[in-house]
Symmetry: C2
Subunit: 470 residues, 2 copies
């Protein structure tokens, strides 16, 4: 393999072929849950260099692991421990290639950090709506490779829905120039959406043309207390009808989640009397008219919900700062969990009509299996997507609890499956969820997936052991 | 082949295996531009029967041509003239399987007529927004197989954007049970979007789970006169910012198109002085608040455009009936063309920022090539999608004009390509546009498409000779 390494140093310059300590940060995921090894970590400068790297690796039969901001949850960007792979960083492909404000599109390279894309759009008085926790470090290439979701999906869709065109280096080192900026194009198979969400196992996305939207005149949030999950779903229907597309977030927060935050960060508090309700909803509307109209809309829709006895109370943010404080509370749950103790996490989605039944059934079942287990449930209820977190009972040991994780996951995922849901709503399959995929996926679908993989990556060099078994 | 026919009669009942005169209507497209022959036309009753038909055809090496409402524009549902194929009608798979109003989803079988799906949604006080001319006879299976567009794409997307899950009979007669009702699901490759738009060449869509939306409280239209195409695009930007997601249609009508309608249907008239402007725009907004708010929004946004000198005049529909009369004028253009004479049609799209330049360049170029040619341009400007129609010059013979069609098409499509556009925005490839596809498609993309076809339809029995050469 010395030949390949030398050839890559020739191609990219020695400073862009990392080994040893320089490579180390790229051989482990941010949670340190996946640790691998690699022949080298390389940093091509542009699409042609990416293509040439792929061709040279292919010639040597060397596997390739593409990596963006390395913020994934499922070990999808970490090589295995064979030390055979080359990790390809897209970080130097970080140009905003074009903004066409009139066409409401932006063309960016894969290594652009999501926040930089949001900012470039805003500078052109446009909105790029993909919004998620890791936006300061994740890259648009990774967002597309994993079909990232986040908190505005109910209005703008997942990453997939925001992409019009792609540039892709195929598994054979060809460049597919598919950077279309078209809202309608029916000339053949939808390769774009095949690469999106394929987690680097079919090719490497090197650039994308993305949709932009009008900047809202005002964004405003409200926090609403509801007596049950059924009521939260009723409120969702009311908000969809009342706000229509102006509804840009509908986030669920259980009282247990709020309590964790209040305990970990005492300056953060719900704007309600303690213990008012078991569930809270964070609503956001993005208004095309302005603050006054946004507030009037909130007052009308939430007022009607109050009159109908569907909600317990509502606090409409009175300022941008208060809007942000509501979001901060929501976004602090993950950190509060980390500070509190061991947690089993599940990234699930199901039809919103099934969510309340699922949560009730699971509460009873898991209460029997694991006495004292604590439910820290929150997430994107507008999309039926729950972060279904289970925390260690007081008194149980960390080891004991973690050891019970596989059994508990099976119970949770069996019920998700029975409720017509998915065991990975946002985060993908990577290496951690292949077992679950094989367990639940329709065999016909698995067979079709294997054929697609064999057709587009016949040598099996693209991110092997991710999405499908290696 | 008698064996296969007998076996299909056994399976489906003799009345559902059509030959001779009974089969004839299904062997020609509605424009009579494609005429084929077939071994038989069969009508399976359900998904299992579709799968069994595929397995039996596969065993005999007999090609399959799926057919929905037979309203396509590119001969995609018509068999070739070898007489070897079996045409599979989906018309008996016409059940609405489920409406989940709480989850805003509907599950329907492929043979459901689009209008019936719209109606079922409305009966549940929901909106299924796919809207197109053939909605009274086209089927949802055909809409998905061709990724149908229509006039509300700028708000709700193409058919692809409206589908959450599919049930598909694969090219080997397996059933993929992919009827998910999920807004987020990242468990593997996006097979759904691969089957959508594949025009029956990879498998047969037998059912789909579709997104529903809130019914708007009010829909209202306006007609606006503009001095140039550049001004129409400026108006689009103003409307996107001002109405945001409430903007559900932005249709371009050239004065030539309007004149054709006024001549063919004298009771239909623009609400402006004759000759006021070279271009008109039909705007529709769907308001979540009501008629008064919709009118106020129109007055504000169009008033500002008038004050800025960007538009010549605007007529806001004063009633539902007037809204419909504006739509009728728009929808009558195709009929008016048919009554007027020979026309060369092109279904193109490009970035909206390039449309005005394209139309100007083409006007000059074609005026030189074909003196007196008449431009009848209209379409979905909000999506950059033009129906770019060229009518015979007075005095030229029909034969002469039609004979010049291929040369003119090359000029038009070359320019579309140079303007980063597509030669098939809505209508697909079918059999008529394969030559154009091969001419303009990136060879890397073509090669990927061929691999996908070989992977999912290894025997090549699914609708051969469509999308890709047989």
């Amino acid at each position: 393999m010395t030949t390949l390494l030398e050839s890559l140093r020739d191609l990219l310059g020695p400073g862009n072929v990392l080994t040893g300590g320089d490579a180390a940060p790229h051989l482990v995921d941010w949670r340190q849950a996946a640790v691998g090894r690699a022949l080298a970590v390389v940093r091509p400068a542009d699409t042609d260099e990416v293509a040439e790297v792929v061709r040279r690796c292919l010639a040597h039969g060397v596997p390739i692991v593409p990596q963006g901001g390395n913020t994934g949850q499922v070990g999808g960007a970490t090589p295995d421990d064979s030390g055979r792979a080359v990790v390809v960083l897209l970080s130097r492909l970080a140009r905003i290639r074009e903004i066409d404000a009139e066409n409401d599109t932006i063309t960016v390279e894969a290594g652009c950090v999501l926040q930089d894309v949001q900012r470039a759009a805003r500078d052109a008085r446009r909105l790029f709506p993909l919004t998620l926790g890791a936006e300061g470090s994740c890259t648009i290439g990774g967002n597309l490779a994993t079909n990232a979701g986040g908190s505005q999906v109910l209005r703008y869709g997942n990453a997939r829905a925001l992409a019009l065109g792609l540039e892709v280096v195929t598994a054979e080192g060809d460049v597919w120039h598919g950077l279309r900026a078209l809202r309608k194009d029916n000339t053949g198979y939808d390769l774009r959406d095949l690469y999106i969400g394929s987690e680097g196992t079919l090719g490497i996305i090197t650039a994308a043309t993305l949709k932009l939207f009008a900047l809202p005149a005002a964004q405003r949030t409200a926090l609403v207390a509801v007596a049950s999950l059924e009521r939260a779903v009723t409120l969702l229907a009311r908000c969809r009808a009342g706000f229509e597309a102006a509804l840009t977030a509908f986030e669920l927060i259980s009282s247990e989640s709020a309590k964790l935050v209040e305990r970990a960060f005492p300056q953060q508090r719900l704007p309600f009397a303690s213990g008012l309700a078991p569930w809270y909803v964070l609503l956001e509307i993005s208004d095309s008219e302005g603050e006054d109209h946004a507030r009037a809309c909130f007052e009308q829709v939430l007022g009607a919900a109050l009159d109908a006895g569907e909600i317990e109370d509502a606090a409409i943010a009175q300022s941008g700062a208060q809007s942000e404080s509501f979001w901060l509370l929501r976004d602090s749950i993950t950190l509060a969990i980390a500070q509190t103790g061991k947690c089993l996490k599940h990234d699930i989605a199901m039809p919103t009509s099934r969510v309340a039944g699922f949560v009730r059934t699971m509460g009873e079942r898991l209460g029997q299996v694991c006495t004292g287990i604590r439910f820290v449930i929150f997430g994107h209820l507008g999309d039926g997507n729950l972060h279904y977190n289970l925390m260690k009972p007081d008194g149980a040991s960390d080891e004991q609890f973690v050891a019970s994780g596989a059994g508990i996951m099976r119970i949770v995922h069996d019920s998700v499956h029975a409720h017509a849901g998915t065991i990975s709503a946002e985060q993908g399959v990577g290496q951690f969820r292949i077992g679950e995929l094989l367990h639940y996926k329709d065999p016909v679908e698995l067979s079709l997936m294997r054929r697609v993989k064999a057709a587009l990556d016949p040598s099996g060099i693209m991110n092997p052991g991710k999405v499908l078994p290696g």
